[in-house]
Amino acid sequence: MYLDSQIAQLLHDEHQKTLDLMNRLEERTTGRKAKAVPDTNDAATVALLADLHAELRATTGHHFNFEEDNIFPALSAIGDVAIPHILRQEHDLLRNMSEFMLPAVEKARAEGFTADSWAEFCELALELVDRQISHIQKEEMGLLPTLSGLFEDDRDGELVMLYAEAS
C-alpha cells in the first residue's frame, strides 16, 4: 500500500493489527453476544483479553511514542503543524483511556466478569473502539501518505530499525 516508504508500510501494518483487535472487541461487546457475560476460561475470550492487555500496555504506547519522537517533528519541520497537533491530542486521550481500562482488563483476566463489570467493560471497550478507529482513520488518510518522500531512503530504513529495536 505504501511501498515507497518502509516506515509508512510498517505503521500501516501496525494499524491493521490494532484494527483487527478492535473489530474483534467490537464484535464481542455489541449486539447479541454482548448480552451474555463471557466465561473468561473460554479460549476466544482468553485470547481477546490477552491481546487487549498487550495492546493497552505496550503496543500503542510504543507506536504513539515513536510517531511523536520521530515522525511529528519531521512533519513540523516542513511546516505541517496541524496534523501532529491533532494526533498528539488523540494520543494523550487514548493513553488516558488505556490507563483507565487496563485495571479492568487485568481484573477480568484474574477474576472473570460479573454482570456489572461486564457492562462497564463493554461501555469502555466501545469507546476505545470508537476512538481508536477514528484515530487510525486520521493517520491512514492524513499522516501515512505524507511520509512518502518525507524521508530519504537511508533515514526511512533507519526508522524501521529504530521501531523494531524499541518494540
Binding site: 500500500m1 484494527l19 467490537e26 464484535e27 496541524a82 491533532i86 488523540e90 492524513g142 505524507t146
Partner: protein, 428 residues
Amino acid sequence: MATGATAFLGSASERLLSLSLPFRFFGAAVVFHLAAWGVLALAAGEVADYRGGGGPVLAAVHLLTLGVFTMTAMGASLQLLPVATLQGFAAPRLIGLIWWLFSLGTVILSAGMFLVWHQAMAGGGVLAGLAILLYLWLLLGNLRRGGALRAVVAHGWLSAASLLGLLALGLGLIANQEHDLFADAQRGAAVHMLLAGYGFMGLLAMGFSYVLVPMFALTQVPPAKAALASLGLAVAGLGLALAGVWSGQDGWAAVGAAAGLIAVAIHLGLMVQVLRQRMRKRLGPAFILIRLSWALLPISLLLGIAWAMDNLPDWGGAVFTLSLFAWLLSLLMAILQRIVPFLASMHAATAIKRRPPTVTALTAQVPLSIHLYCHCAAFVLLCAGIIWPVPLLVGLGALTGAVGAAAFAWFFLAAVKKYRAALEKAAA
C-alpha cells in the same frame, strides 16, 4: 492513499469551516426533506398521472431537488471540497449569504409552483439562481486553484457545468410560461431534470464517493484512471441522452443511457473493490442506504432506456423519475448521517481536550433506524401506487416518507444538542 485526503486532514484546522456553516445547509435540507414528503402527500391524487406543469407535484419535486439535494450538495461540497483541492474557503459571510438566498428562493419558488403563481416562481427562481451563481463562483474558484484528487476535481468541474446548464434551463422554463421560448417545453423540462439528476447531482455524488466511501470504510482511494474513464463515459452518455431528448431522437437517448450504464458499472466496480479492501469490518447502517442507492442507480438507467424505447406502459416516466430520486435521496441521507456526527466530533475535539464526544456518542441510532424503514417503505408504496395506480398508496407512501423525514430531523437535532451539551460541559 492519495494525497488529497492528506490535505484535508493534514491541515484540518485551517480547512474546517465553522460548524454552523455546513450545519445550516444540512439543517435546511432536513426541514425541506420533511416539507417535500408533506407536499407530496397533499398531491397524492395527481402523482400517477402527472405529465408536467405547475401544482403541488412540481412543488414537491423542487422541495426535494433544490431543498434537499442541492442544499446538501452545497453544504457538503463547501466543507469537503478541500479534500480534493487542497484549498480552504475563506468566505464565511458569502457562504452565509448563499444559504439565505437559496433557502428563501427555494421556499418562494416552491410556493409559487404549489399555487401556480408565476410571479412567485420567477422571484424564487431568481433568488435561488443568484445563490447558485454565487456558489458556483466559490466552487469554480476553489476547483481552479488546486487538485490533488484529479478524479474528484474533474467530477466537480462537470457537475458545476451541469448546474449552470440546468439553472439556465430552469429559469427559461419559468419564463416560458409567459413567453414562448421553447418549441416543446416538456422536452425542455426533461432535459432540465436529467441535467439535475445525472449531471449536477449524479456527477457530484459519484465524485465525492471516491473520497467518502474509502474514508468511512478505511481503505484506499480507487485509482484515478478508472474513475476518470467512468466519468468520461458518463459525460458522453449524458450528452447523447440530452441531445436525444431535446431533439426527439429517442434512440440517442437510449444509447446515451446505455453508455451511462457502462460508466456506472465501472463506478460501482470501484466501490465494490473499495469495500473488499476495507480495514473496517462494521460499516454501520448508513451502508444499507448506500448499497440501496448503488442498486437504484443502474435500475434508473435501465428504466430510462426502456422508457426512451417506448417499452414501458404509461407509468414508465413516473417510475423512472421515482427511481432517480430514490437513488439520490438514499445516498444523500446515508452521507448526511455519517458526516453530521463526524464533523460535530471533529469540531468538539478541537474545542474539548478532555474526552470529547465520539462519533457514536453523537449518533442517535433509533431515529436513524426509523428513517431507514420508512424511507424504504415510502418508495415501495409510491412505486406500487403509481403502477396500479392507487392514490391512497401514493398518499400512504408520502406520509411514511414524512415520518422517516421527521425521524431524520430528530437524529439531526439530537446530534446538535449533544454537541452543544459537550461544549457547555467542557466550559463549565
